[in-house]
């Protein structure tokens, strides 16, 4: 009881002292560690005075004198400072946690490292995995978290071609951009149109490529097929050749007047009896452009599924089918109850990533017909998906950065939401061994 009492008391004392990082450690007789923590805190305080406070207030005001205050710089500096502050806060929490833990160890009579040399050795041993993951974290903070935060902030401002710093100031407008997308006539109409086609596009293209991939794998994987290696090699080509090359080729082949499809393939079909196909307006009729896009993506995407499914099929033990055959199961029953569940189980996460990939498949939309033909309002063409609309909003002659940022965030929410549900369903964490 008494021992327990001293323990809590020691812990509390160390924790309280750590309100100023380092003091708790010094009280625990870890002088060098304490001094290091104090130095880090001092450094942060110094940084705050010189740069930080001004950056954070800048982030709140976004400047007040047009031509002098550069709102965009202020927004970005403020975001950087926000990240630095968050990292310091994490350090702060760790510091309190650390001093309480050390105090508890001391009270329990355990050995605690007090010399700098011991501690460096200890850190070298225990800190090894942290050291190894550090580069990944640094890259992610700068390339993912920081830009995503900036996008988030830009979406809450009125940054567009009317408000280009430094001549004009940018202001916070709250959720106005999001509200405009949902309620303002012109944007809403475009958004609904583009989103509608994006969803149709994603579902049709991805589902078709999955079906073709599975069917091909089933066909090739039959025992009697000769020349499996040749077929396998041919079917891998659409994946092996960089997509931008094939898309550009297709774009030329589908040209309305001179493209090979209208000039060569359709006349070939017309040689058949009872077939009389007219030339098709692949590039000028939105319906046919959409059809062509979906066909091309099926062509491009099926090999990936085919390879995965082939791997799964080869792993299913043959006895399973033998047993089913003996029990009198038909081919269709065997497929429904053995093959299909196996494929689905093993490849579900990959298939879901295919859907999210196509949702953001900028290259094919832009390279095939630049989102055209025609217009769906607010700068979007009739086959633009959300991501290519963002491109046009950002790089067009009258850029709408804040609306683009808002649409970007909406896309991300949709994608993250779908992925989360999918990963939960497919239980990607299921086999993860914990601690």
């Amino acid at each position: 009881m008494n021992k327990h009492h001293t323990l809590t008391k020691q812990k509390r004392k160390a924790g309280l002292l750590s309100i100023i990082p380092g003091l708790g450690q010094i009280a625990n007789q870890q002088l060098s560690k304490g001094l290091l923590f104090l130095a880090i805190t001092g450094l942060f305080a110094f940084e705050l005075c010189v740069f930080g406070i001004q950056a954070l207030t800048g982030l709140m005001t976004l400047g007040s004198v047009p031509g002098e205050d550069h709102s965009l710089f202020m927004l970005i500096e403020g975001t950087l400072q926000l990240i630095v502050t968050m990292i310091f806060l994490m350090f702060y929490i760790f510091n309190i946690h650390d001093s309480r833990k050390t105090a508890a160890m001391k009270a329990a009579g355990l050995e605690v490292n007090t010399t700098a040399k011991d501690m460096i050795c200890h850190a070298g041993d225990k800190g090894f995995p942290y050291l190894f993951t550090l580069p990944a974290y640094i890259m992610m903070v700068f390339v993912i978290i920081f830009p995503v935060l900036v996008t988030l902030f830009v979406a809450l401002t009125n940054y567009d071609f009317y408000h280009i710093p430094p001549n004009r100031l940018i202001d916070w407008v709250g959720f106005k951009n999001f509200l405009n997308i949902f309620f303002l006539g012109s944007y809403r109409e475009t958004f609904v149109n583009v989103l509608g086609w994006t969803v149709i596009w994603t579902i049709c293209a991805t589902t078709l490529q999955i079906i073709l991939g599975i069917v091909t794998a089933l066909f090739v994987n039959q025992d009697f097929i000769k020349g499996k290696r040749i077929f396998r090699m041919i079917f891998l080509f659409p994946w092996a050749v960089p997509a931008f090359i094939t898309i550009m080729s297709f774009s030329n082949m589908f040209n309305d007047s001179i493209g090979a499809v209208n000039a060569q393939v359709i006349p070939l079909f017309n040689h058949l009896p009872f077939v009389e196909l007219p030339a098709i307006a692949w590039k000028t009729d939105p319906f046919w452009t959409k059809t062509a896009l979906i066909m091309i993506q099926t062509w491009l995407g099926f090999p990936y599924i085919y390879v995965m499914v082939t791997g799964v099929l080869q792993a299913i033990p043959g006895e399973l089918y033998e047993a089913a055959k003996i029990d009198g199961a038909t081919f269709i029953q065997r497929f429904r109850h053995i093959t299909f569940p196996m494929i689905l189980f093993a490849t579900a996460p990959v298939m879901i990533t295919q859907y999210t990939f196509n949702f953001n498949n900028f290259s094919i939309i832009y390279l095939f017909n630049e989102g055209g033909p025609g217009s769906a309002g607010a700068g979007a063409g009739s086959t633009d998906i959300l991501i290519s609309w963002i491109y046009k909003l950002t790089t067009g002659t009258s850029p709408q950065y804040s609306v683009a940022a808002a649409v970007t965030l909406l896309i991300s929410f949709i994608v993250i939401g779908i992925s989360l549900i999918a990963f939960k369903k497919s239980n990607a964490f299921g086999n993860e061994e914990v601690m």
């Binding site: 970005i76 225990k126 090894f128 995995p129 942290y130 993951t133 580069p135 990944a136 890259m139 992610m140 700068f142 390339v143 993912i144 920081f146 830009p147 900036v150 996008t151 830009v154 069917v215 091909t216 066909f219 039959q222 041919i234 891998l236 080509f237 092996a240 050749v241 960089p242 931008f244 090359i245 094939t246 550009m248 080729s249 774009s251 030329n252 082949m253 040209n255 493209g259 090979a260 000039a263 060569q264 062509w299 390879v307 995965m308 999210t356 953001n360 290259s363 832009y366 390279l367 991501i387 491109y391 950065y401 683009a404 940022a405 970007t408 965030l409 993250i416 964490f429 299921g430 086999n431």
Partner: protein, 278 residues
Amino acid sequence: MNASTARMLNKICTYLFLTLLSIVIIYPLLITASSAFRVGNSAAFQLDFSGSWTLDHFKRLFDETLYLNWYSNTLVIALSVMVLQVTIVTLAGYSYSRYRFAGRKKSLIFFLIIQMVPTMAALTAFYVLAMLIGALDQYWFLTAIYIGGGIPMNTWLMKGYFDTVPREIDEAARIDGAGHLRIFASIVLPLVKPMLAVQALWAFMAPFGDYLLTKFLLRSPERLTIAVGLQSFISNPQQQKVALFAAGAILAALPICVLFFFLQKNFVSGLTAGGTKG
């Protein structure tokens, strides 16, 4: 219908399907490739073996266009992404697979969620940032984005593959007195070579085939990559350089295809080990 007729019918259908699919795949590739060797400069690809053949288009590609520039630009970017990303991802994947440290599970979940944030989510920010710090046209900026974007997903895949290497191997080495670095570099690393090869190929192919970011962030004609550069041959209807495009496309696709077919055996094991086992 008896069993042997059914089997025959199945055979015919199967071969018919596979042949048709093969034609649909080969036709567009062949039509592009053959245009690179045909005399004359038509505005569209046509499958036509009647004319005479030439290597002139390749010569013009080197002499009259910036193609070689684009090619070396692309190689510089893709190789730096490959080296740096594979290094970072291997280190992180190894740590998550081999060490049980405080915060491990939390940071793994963090990787999983970050992985779902599409690189596109930061598109506007990349553009604005690049304008501000003068990083338009700068390769380091582009390279950093490719690397950062690839880290979360590939760390997961890498960790999954490391998990398939039995831990008893490093336990034994530890007992023999091997340190952290030694176990990593000379014992576990050689065992994951197939996955390293796959990771390297993917890290190389991603920037090689990317169009969006380069289109966004590179401006001057001589700084472009192959993807954006080649498009200029074919996008402008007034000056169609279809043959030049085809020649450039062959040179770009050939090395990638060779690497791809060379390494494709490793793909499935790499994908399933990481993808489904978590």
